[in-house]
Every structure is written in C-alpha cells, then in structure tokens.
C-alpha cells in the first residue's frame, strides 16, 4: 500500500519533480516558494543525479531553462510573482521556440513588491500570456498539496505532448501549508529524443536550430498560425474542471486553487441553511472550461465568482456565460484570504438577496 506523508505544498511539489524524473531545476530564492529550491538542493542530485542550480536571477533561471529544455530533457523552474514577471521575456521565447518545460508560480500579493502572503492576482499574467506576443501556456491550478504533487507529473506529460511550457499556478498558502499527500512512484530519468533537440548534430541529419526569430513576416505568421492551431488542440483536449453539487443547484460559487476549497465550505454552509449551492472549480485555467459554465448557466439563477484578487477570472466566467445569468464577484486582495462566512454573505447579499438595481 502507498504511504501517506505530511508535507508542505512546496516540498511535495519538489519531491514530485524528483519522482517525475525531472533532469534539471534552475531557480532563484523568493518567498513564499524558496522551499522548492532548498528541498531540491538537498535531495535531488544524490537520488537521481538531477541537476539543481541556483542562478543569479530569475532572468538567468528562465534562460537556463530555455537552453536546457532545448536538449529535450525534463526541465523546470519555480518562483513567485515578482520573479515570474522577470521571467516573462524568456517564457515568450520558450513558447515560440516550442520547448517543453515546467514553470511554477507560487503567487503572492502584488502589485510591486507587494506581500509574501497568498494571492491570485497573477491570473491574467498566467492565462492571457504574460510576456509579449500571442502565446499560451497550459495553466494548472492545484487546490491541495496532493495536487501540488500530482500536477508536476501531469505538467511534464502535457509539456512533451504539446512541446509547450506548462505553468502550475498556485499560491503562498498552498505552498506553505502542510497536508497529507500520497506520492507517486519514482519515474526513471530518460531521454525522449524525437529529432528537434539541440544535442550535437550527428552526420546523418542537418543541424537543429532553436529560435524564436523569423524575420520574414510571412514565415512569422506561419509560426503564429501553427501555434494557434496547437492552442486550439489544447482547448479541445485538455480542459479539466471539477463540479461539486451542481446537479440540483440554484446558485453556483466558483473559484480556483485554494479559493475553490473555501467556496466548497461556503456551499456547505449554504446547504445547511437550505440554499442549493454548487461549486465549479476550473483545474486548467488555460484552457478554460467555458462550456461547463455555459451549460450550467441554463439551470441556475446566478454565479458568484470568488478570487484572491480584484476580479480576473471573472472575465472568463462572463465570457463563458455570455450574459445568460447574473455573475457577481467577491474578492480579497493584497494577501488576504476570504473566509467561508464572507463568501456565504456575499452570495446572500449580492446574488440571492435581490439587488436594489
């Protein structure tokens, strides 16, 4: 039987990286995710030979990821909001050059230096393409320490399936809190060489080039069309969403990551009061589960969107519902975490209680 362990989210994620057969991690300390670098520095190399390197900056980290990912190995980095901002140029290059890799953002409150407390204010940056140019990452949003571990393995599978950078977007609370986790078995570190990698040119093939530069606009448009077709395939095949008690629901509370758990508790409190409330939890933020919202909107009276930001995912919820029913918002910002009671109150006053206007 598998063993349950009690682990911090950041440590479970780092342990999962080792077990997923990750070949190299490049990173830079930043609260609240430094445990990832610390754990890997302690554990990784001696167990699997994995390379772990503390870079001089997040900019250097992501460019080391770019170089290393070009060899076809399993490469990752992690950081928190300000550090992820510094990486955006590199992420854009990686997306255009179509290199598989994993980027973890343990989101903290912003803007600016902000706070080290948890937040979800990097939703737009993660989901809409935080760097320059038209590109997308598959964005996975864990809501438990278990998923902090499981999604690392999933992320590498998706990264190689689509030759695309994958982001795990989590937050400072999930990174820091301890919870039980069942770890998956150690996977071998193995090279999956399919022909595009820059690993040294054998005599029988032309030299490989990894670049995001295509100076002729017709060629650059071709690249863009190819990328958009790939993103469309992701939208068709990779949407992941959890619905809880939505079948008989009159109202929906929706949120991702940590907030989804608080929403679930709020929905239970509502049911205790006789209100039929369900929860929609997007697991992939890109691709977003538009259809789930669109379909459920036919059967419910309204949706309360809850986020630890000023309202970012709500734009996708509104797009999904397309005006069929009212969408209201409740959010806390700057590192504050909403309570189930606050959410229930917002549900009752903003959505159910009948608004004045």
């Amino acid at each position: 039987m598998s063993k349950l362990k009690l682990m911090k989210g950041n440590e479970a994620l780092a342990e999962a990286a080792i077990r997923a057969g990750c070949d190299a991690y490049f990173g830079y300390p930043i609260t609240p995710q430094s445990e990832v670098l610390e754990y890997l520095s302690r554990e990784a190399n001696k167990r699997t030979g994995m390379t772990v390197l503390q870079a001089e900056s997040e900019i250097a980290s992501i460019n080391m990821v770019y170089g290393a990912a070009g060899t076809g190995k399993k490469i990752m980095t992690s950081s928190s909001s300000p550090g992820i901002s510094l990486m955006q140029e590199g992420i854009s290059y990686i997306a255009c050059a179509e290199l598989p890799c994993l980027i973890v953002n343990v989101n903290r409150g912003g803007p600016g230096l902000g706070t080290i407390q948890p937040a979800q204010s990097d939703y737009f940056q993660s989901v809409k393409g935080g760097g320059h140019g038209d590109y997308r990452l598959i964005v996975l949003a864990p809501s438990t320490v278990q998923e902090m571990s499981d999604f690392v393995k999933l992320a590498f599978e998706l990264a190689f399936k689509y030759r695309n950078p994958i982001m795990i977007l989590t937050d400072g609370a999930l990174g820091q809190m301890m919870e039980k986790v069942e770890l998956f078995e150690q996977q071998p570190r193995e090279d999956i060489i399919t022909g595009w990698e820059t690993i040294g040119k054998p005599e029988d093939r032309p030299s490989n080039v990894i670049t995001s530069l295509h100076i002729k606009p017709d060629k650059m448009e071709e690249i863009n069309i190819h990328l958009q077709e790939k993103y469309k395939k992701m939208e068709e095949n990779e949407v992941r969403v959890e619905t809880i008690d939505c079948d008989d629901a009159d109202y929906i509370i929706t949120g991702y990551g940590l907030v989804a758990r608080i929403c679930t508790k709020a929905a239970q409190l509502a049911r205790d009061k006789g209100l039929k409330v369900g929860v929609i939890r997007p697991i992939t933020l890109f691709p977003f589960p538009y259809k789930t919202y669109f379909d459920i909107a036919d059967n419910v009276k309204g949706i309360l969107d809850v986020e630890m930001n000023a309202g970012q995912m709500i734009e996708d919820v509104r797009l999904a519902v397309n005006g069929k029913i009212p969408i209201e918002f409740y959010g806390r910002m700057g590192g504050m975490v909403p309570t189930p009671e606050e959410i229930l109150e917002a549900l009752e006053t903003k959505l159910i209680g009948g608004k004045d206007e």
Binding site: D23, L53, N63, Y66, A68, I199, G200, K201, E203
Partner: protein, 262 residues
C-alpha cells in the same frame, strides 16, 4: 584549350590550398563588407573541422548582427534572448556536460544587457567558451553607443562623442572576467590582419581543447573588431582606425592562461 578546361585542370585535389570548412553552411554571409563576423565564424568552423567535433558542439547565438550565426555555422544551435546567451549556454552545458558549448556575443549583448549573466557564468566557472566580438558599437540597431564605445567616439546616441562624465567609461569586461577565479583562459585578439587571424584561430582551438580536456572553468575570447558601416568608414579605413584607436585601449594578448593558475 577552352577557359573551362584550364579551370578544371587547376581545380584538382593536389592544388587545393583553400576551401570552405565543412562546418560552414552554404548560406552566403549577410554581413557588411569588411565585417569581422564572417572571419570569426569561419575560424570557429575551421577549428570544429580540424578537431572533428561537429557532432559534439552546441552553439548559442546572440541578439545583434550575428543573431543568424546558426545560418552559417553548421552545428546544433540555440538563439538566445538579448544578453542571455551565457545563461542559455549554462543550461545546455549543465544537462549535457560532455558536449562542447560556446556562446557568440557582441558588446551590447555581453557587456551591457547581459553583464550579470556574463559575470556569473564566468564566476561559476561554467565549462563553456564565450566568444565576444567587441566593435564598440551596436551594429544591428544602427550604430548606438555600446558599453565599449571609446571616450569621445561618435555614435548615433553620442553624436558629439562619448562624454564619460555623462555616459560613463568604456567597459573592459574582459579584464573583469579575468579577475574571477572561474575563468581559466581569457584572451583578447583581433582579425584585421592575417597574422592576427591565425592567432585568434589558435585561441579558439585552445579553448575548445581546454573544454574537452578539463573542467577548470570558462574560456573567454574577446575579438576587437571593426564596424565599417556604423563607423561610417571603408573597410580599410576602419581597420586603420581600429589599430590606432581601439587597440591602445583594448590591448591584444592573453590576459589569463591556464598555466598562470595555481
């Protein structure tokens, strides 16, 4: 006897004195007449041929005039973001330590926007070769001031000459990295005369040999170069200007050799 027959008689294996290296692609160079990039690209390719290391060499191209280095040098290559080539090279070398990895960078790339990556790559002693082309100007963007632009030297952003009281001083980054314990071989060369071309080739070969033989740290070759187009000179004038103005400040020769180490 027709002209073609004469040519064919001359074009025999035993008469061959000069040919395109195997490790250069067929793409004609896009560089301006008199530019040093083509010469240095060729030297890298010659060394790769002579050492038989094409299959184990991975290059990193910069942003700048030599952004298309991968269109000429026939090895696997990655094109880095501006300034980040040495970080990219670090990433490659760390996961493929038995490969020979080099970055090829200009002065703006390596010594302005990429200063942090340059210093820290050298300070970690990454076992890579950094080739640094210093022509004292931003070539591709059209002749703006570089970190290595000489005092009083004109550029489009120092139209009255570089005033060091406003713009700061030309940066001798090569001396700077030589002071770091992570570098094992640091040298400054030039390619505007045949003798110097041969010396630069020797430096490139020595660097690849050191990378192959040991793990004692970074090799760093600066090539002091001209930029006839942006210096607004003919190739010949620019070579003369280089000799008279660049070389007194950027003096040629080895700055640090493996033998100089303890």
């Amino acid at each position: 006897m027709s002209e073609q027959t004469i040519i064919d008689e001359i074009k025999t294996e035993e008469n061959l004195v000069y040919k395109k290296p195997e490790a250069l692609k067929d793409t004609p160079f896009h560089y301006c007449p008199g530019c040093a990039h083509g010469v240095v690209h060729r030297l890298i390719a010659e060394v790769i041929d002579e050492m038989g290391i094409q299959s184990e060499t991975i290059g990193v191209a910069p942003v700048g005039c030599s952004v298309f280095a991968y269109n000429y040098i026939d090895v696997d290559m990655t094109e880095a973001a501006h300034g980040r080539a040495s970080a990219v090279a670090t990433g490659i070398k760390r996961v493929l330590p038995d490969r020979l990895v080099f970055s090829y960078q200009g002065d703006g790339d390596l010594a302005a926007i990429g200063t942090g990556e340059t210093i820290h790559t050298c300070n970690r002693g990454e076992n890579v070769l950094i080739i640094f082309i210093n022509n004292g100007i931003y070539g591709m963007t059209g002749g703006q001031m570089a970190p290595t632009t000489l005092e009083n030297m004109k550029s489009t952003t120092t139209p009255f000459g570089r005033d060091v009281s406003v713009m700061g001083y030309p940066l001798k980054i090569t001396e700077l990295v030589a002071a770091l314990p992570g570098t094992q071989y640091v040298t400054r060369q030039a390619v505007y005369k045949p003798g110097l071309v041969r010396k630069t080739k020797k430096a490139i070969r020595k660097s690849f040999e050191l990378q192959k033989e040991n793990k004692n740290g970074t090799c760093f070759i600066e090539v002091v170069a001209n930029c006839p187009s942006n210096w607004k000179m003919t190739p010949v004038e620019s070579n003369k200007w280089l000799e008279e103005n660049m070389l007194p400040f950027y003096q040629l020769g080895d700055i640090k050799t493996p033998n100089g180490r303890k």
